[in-house]
Symmetry: C2
Subunit: 189 residues, 2 copies
Amino acid sequence: MSTKTAIKSQAKRLFKEQGYIGASMRELADAVGIEGASLYYHFKSKEVLLSDICFELSDQFFSSLHAVSSVGGQTADVTLSNAMRNHIKIVVDNIDASAVFVNEWRMMSEPAKSEFKRARRKYEVFFKDVIENGIQEGTFRKDINADLAAITILSALNGIYTWYNPDGDLSVEDISTHLENTLLNGIKH
Amino acid sequence: MSTKTAIKSQAKRLFKEQGYIGASMRELADAVGIEGASLYYHFKSKEVLLSDICFELSDQFFSSLHAVSSVGGQTADVTLSNAMRNHIKIVVDNIDASAVFVNEWRMMSEPAKSEFKRARRKYEVFFKDVIENGIQEGTFRKDINADLAAITILSALNGIYTWYNPDGDLSVEDISTHLENTLLNGIKH
DNA sequence: CCTACCGATCGGTAGG
DNA sequence: CCTACCGATCGGTAGG
């Protein structure tokens, strides 16, 4: 693993554990095994490190949507289920980066911050549109607010990083099945 | 409003906007209209401010549970619905504090941090127990994982602070109805 | 609640 | 990738 990759990897962990501002560049350098000043050979600033981490994950989320929407002729519930499962897998495979993505993006300055917000909104709108299609198809109930449902679902999926234990006995498959069930079918009989 | 109350109120806003570590005591003092050093007359340290904010909201959540469980003879779906609605109202009425509660509690040091985690887990377990009761009653489906469902529901409810707009056209009642519907009944027909 | 102050630490740069 | 360094800012205290 290159030094640059090692820096990014440790940055994800430290930004998650102590927050972007709480984690110092010296501490990061220590974790990697170099001097503080040497970090600036690899990254122009602390903030570039933050935006790299956030947009790297954002790109993964959009790749997933691209894969999901390139499969045509599915009913909305299948499309939504696929998008959710992909999202869950990305979060579980990138727990530290997900925490940064969810919590620390606000610390970016402009114009990166606005770009990030636009991307995140676009992602939410994809989910909203799938749900709206499902309502028109008759797959989903017509009394639901598609935008609110999309945000609710994504909140629950993004929350996974707060409780997921990589050493626990829940597989990605288990989590996907249960969350999909709860959010799409509800818990009532 | 007393100075102490004003400090806490501004601290909620600043901790939300800039994170606990990113918000400085000088900035907080400016927002209140006093000198930085004067804050220490009202609060022993920055961290006491943080834990006060977190535990104040935690207390509100537990008061709500107490009210919910003192009403006996309800089926689990009604109990869960009441607990969810109360939770949503507390979040919406305390948007800034909710952001701190969800994101910044990790910055507390021991023993407050462990105490906070225990309280939060106890709260989750209440939800889990209600769901388990509902499964045994036959109110809820028996193939759901009660603990996972509880955490999923609370993730979605806690996420409200990230998108709720106090000046928007969604009332607390609207939000409660839609989220309850989505999470308890699912979005499928 | 203020003035005056302090040691510690921060992100970042110069020059090699 | 390191040594040496810098201005700025931090949370907090002393004494009034």
